[in-house]
């Protein structure tokens, strides 16, 4: 326990809610609550990872063919962007803990910019898939699923789908359902995260966070890192799974 004077100071913090004993208890309760929420998120994404694993084990050739059509460079660059944004987010928490407002604002702004960069690259990838008629089903009016298939002996065309032996277009379409469901839900989480970061940015400019009170930065940081982890798994599973078949 600290001295009476310090305890009184902590009790008097303007951000302490009446139902908490002190700032530390309030912070730990917030972190715990966020982790419980993240467990539900893990289960939510877990269901989609399960669907992926199941269909990949049923249609390995089609999944490899479809995966090879994704742009590995854009995927890798986006992984780097997201890792860097996780780093700047961690640094934002660090500077908030030290009570350094200027670097805190800079780090939050960088995280937001990197998050938007990721979404921009993702939009470019989605547009490429749209142009190659790879949006599954009839989600896009007038542009149903129907990619051109690369035939033997034709000159290589990266807009065409190279089907490995045993793969059918219907199975490839299954991959793209899962691809758009998983990356789409991930992108939605990024959009929500960008909104949360905007909120953090405004409040940090108002000087609302200090070493005693910074739960919002810490907790939104946890969320941001979680979204990064989902991508750490999505990148190899979606983009890299069939590459070694290409020059076997």
């Amino acid at each position: 326990m600290t001295t009476d004077a310090t305890t009184a100071d902590i009790h008097g913090h303007r951000s302490l809610q009446h139902h908490f004993e002190n700032m530390e208890q309030q912070r730990e309760a917030g972190t715990l609550g966020m982790w419980v929420f993240l467990v539900t998120e893990i289960m939510f994404f877990g269901g989609m990872f399960l669907a992926y694993t199941l269909y990949r084990s049923m249609y390995p050739a089609a999944f490899a063919s479809a995966s090879n059509h994704l742009d590995i460079t854009l995927g890798a660059v986006n992984t780097g962007v997201l890792i860097l944004s996780s780093f700047t987010m961690a640094m934002a928490v660090y500077f908030t803990q030290l009570g350094k407002q200027r670097p805190q604002i800079i780090c939050l702004a960088l995280t937001l910019i990197l998050g938007l960069t990721f979404l921009g690259v993702k939009a470019k990838e989605y547009h490429d898939k749209y142009e190659d008629h790879l949006i599954p089903g009839k989600l896009i009016p007038g542009n149903p699923f129907g990619p051109a298939v690369q035939e033997e002996g034709q000159p290589p065309d990266h807009h065409k789908l190279h089907l490995l032996p045993g793969a059918t277009l219907a199975q490839v379409q299954m991959f793209y359902w899962i691809y758009f469901a998983m990356t789409g839900m991930h992108a939605l989480h990024m959009i929500i995260g960008a909104g949360l970061l905007t909120f953090l940015l405004i409040y940090s400019m108002k000087g609302r966070f200090d070493p005693e009170y910074h739960s919002p930065v810490e907790v939104i940081g946890l969320y941001w890192h979680f979204v990064d982890i989902v991508w750490i798994f999505l990148f190899p599973l979606l983009y890299l799974l069939g590459r070694h078949f290409e020059h076997g």
Partner: protein, 99 residues
């Protein structure tokens, strides 16, 4: 007792480890590993990266036991999700059943 402040040195190290991990997973994807080990290699790298993020960026290493229990519970339940589903799909056809 106040919270633990992770030094910048640690954050930079983790950041570099994650970048190296990403490069490794891309390189490994183009190698044809024997016994179809590609997925195992890719997932090992991904789990390692995720562990570093959870322990250091998300501060779990310095958090209370209660947080550890919550994280462990998530892994346990995702384990149930996969184990029970695949105990069905994986074993289908083992025993001939007439429908």
């Amino acid at each position: 007792m106040s919270e633990h402040i992770v030094p910048v040195r640690v954050y930079v190290t983790i950041f570099l480890v994650l970048l190296v991990g990403t490069a490794l997973t891309v390189l490994a994807a183009f190698i044809d590993f024997p016994w179809r080990l590609n997925t195992i290699v890719a997932m090992t790298i991904a789990v390692t990266k995720a562990t570093f993020v959870v322990l250091y960026f998300m501060h779990v290493r310095y958090s209370t036991r209660l947080i550890w229990v919550i994280v462990a519970a998530a892994l346990f339940w995702i384990g149930i999700l996969f184990a029970l589903t695949f105990s069905d799909y994986w074993t289908r056809g083992w025993i001939p059943v007439s429908y």
